[in-house]
Symmetry: C2
Subunit: 414 residues, 2 copies
Amino acid sequence: MERADLLVVHASELLALDHGRPGPAVGKALDDLRIIPDGAVAVTGDRIAAVGATAEINARYTASRVLDAAGRVVMPGFVDPHTHLVFPATREEEFEMRCLGKSYEEIAAAGGGIRNSARKMRGARREDLLARAKSLRRMTLLHGTTTIEAKSGYGLSTESEVLSLEIAREIDDRGDVVPTFLGAHEVPDEHRADRGEYIRIVTEEMIPRVAALGLARFCDVFCEKRVFSIEESRRILVAARTAGLGLKLHADELNPTGGAELAAELRAVSADHLIRVSDTGIRAMARAGVVAVLLPATSYFLGMKAFAPGRRMVSAGVPVALATDLNPGSSMTGNMQFVLTTACLGYGFTVAEAIVAATLNAAYAVGLGEEVGSLAPGKRADLLVLDVPRYRLLAYHHGVNHVATVVHHGEVVA
Amino acid sequence: MERADLLVVHASELLALDHGRPGPAVGKALDDLRIIPDGAVAVTGDRIAAVGATAEINARYTASRVLDAAGRVVMPGFVDPHTHLVFPATREEEFEMRCLGKSYEEIAAAGGGIRNSARKMRGARREDLLARAKSLRRMTLLHGTTTIEAKSGYGLSTESEVLSLEIAREIDDRGDVVPTFLGAHEVPDEHRADRGEYIRIVTEEMIPRVAALGLARFCDVFCEKRVFSIEESRRILVAARTAGLGLKLHADELNPTGGAELAAELRAVSADHLIRVSDTGIRAMARAGVVAVLLPATSYFLGMKAFAPGRRMVSAGVPVALATDLNPGSSMTGNMQFVLTTACLGYGFTVAEAIVAATLNAAYAVGLGEEVGSLAPGKRADLLVLDVPRYRLLAYHHGVNHVATVVHHGEVVA
């Protein structure tokens, strides 16, 4: 018998998601959870040692700690590959303005939105920012998110952007918070008259500084009408690539600007949002293997009308992932379970497709596809025990936190 | 000093909702929470003794138990005035069929939907039905629902409808579960060839039996194209009224059939759904004082396209309430907080309007407006302590259960 530190046994359905080859799930593979009935996982240290039927695992391993998951689903922890976790204040007054009829773009044009947060960021105290981000991170963990991307982008000055990324690092010492530099989230108030100067600061000051400090894994740009153009986005991303950062792009969210095509051209790891993506952009992403990070909770929170063409992207062979977009303006939720339900309804995904998109493919969207996102030997032991007997209930019965237990780095943390 | 059993003090915002006169909140009153900053509530037995500023309440009362709500919002418990709490099985396979493109009506026409539940109901064991309903009721309580309506309607036979209502009674011995008879939810398989015979059974057997046993406070009918016509609905409701039951109506949900007009004609307590309500229907409801029970979570769960004209109803002077519609087909959630967010987004309600609709007006929709729904002296001590400092966060920050403490009948229950 081999020794393990933890066994999780008798899962009614164990969603392994282990396709036995590297890379995200594309096409029909997206709908394949690799379910093991009466399944079990053996954990040694912070790693998955083995996955299989409970009878097999019990025959092979003993462990000091055993979790009985009878009647419950076990699955990999959620990976949330697109959040704006570090922000200075909530913006509930803008939410109400939107409900009463103002559009997100009107609010932004009037100095609200990201610039509103940026002004508050400048006056924020480090300890308050840290406390808020920690509290939100804890909340997402309790809802099953074991790995989370976190963008800067409310600082919009070198000092304040660096501070945001330092906070992302400070809430995490084990690589679960993937930091992305998003200095090009908006042009701040003081540079509205000379946007070229702000882009110069982003490319010549912020990016080199952030890269030198090792504060970010990715660089992202909000490529959008009235924010950063395709040409500006390209300049910024090329500078980031030169500095050694991976690339992401807010693409084609509110208007079709060719963001998906740009992401494909630059071999970005992901292009995100994509509500208005063109067919050309979809084909380009499929060819380049760019992960489409879809944000259905944002569609919901912006008024429930427009959804990205998720089904068309899956059919075209684009690897599709899901994220919350947690941020104080357009998606004030960190709950990936809500994202699953809304993805099924908004994109016509099966529950299985939504789950694979929110775990395995999401891991590839943050460059961690070989580390997390499925229950496979050697991967980090990040897994959830869900208080439902069949996996479809996770998306179908919504508005409830179904996560009964979170195992993170091999430890039961919630 | 007076003695109280419980004091809740130092609420950052105490939402009293006490308008000082009977009746639901209509028009501008819907947007008025009657907020008391640094507010407090004194509770004696199961009743609210006093509501006011903390300084006043502390000067007047002592109590053995004091809850400090500093930094937190205190509000009345939610009243959920439209649920189908007693059902035999979840229907997640139909959810997925809908996500993949089938409509709710197509699934129903093929024998799914309500008839699917009815078939399963006939084979269900009483203890399983009770356990499921109890578990769902507990879940709704933990999410802040202190009073909940519960309809029968998956039995569709006298015996099975009576069983459903007995279960609603069995999970509650204090009047928090308001039972509604909904035998006319669908025509069951065995009567599809002779619907007249089923209506005869509803009016001549079920209604008298349910009334004689005191099992229901209201009678409801699913008035809808291909379900029960206006004429059939009228017959059933008139029989119910004769038997002493209050009236409710599923009206104008998927097609405009004149349900709102019928509800007004019969002075129903509420008309529910109303996605396709006519302007004539709105005016008739306003004149008759029929509460419009709106179900935004159902719009979400049926694909996020069509919402009832909530704003138009408010402007027309209709008293508007909100409910989850918790049921296994078209709204698998019991979370009133999600309903608030979706109501703001779908109807253009302010957060305050949504809160008043989900408490005070919802109480009137189940005939309990003088008993629960606001924090007023003499009312039942049903209140929530929310883990947010400002009330707008309750709807804005969604996907999280903000209920920190539930006081129910004067007792801290969660």
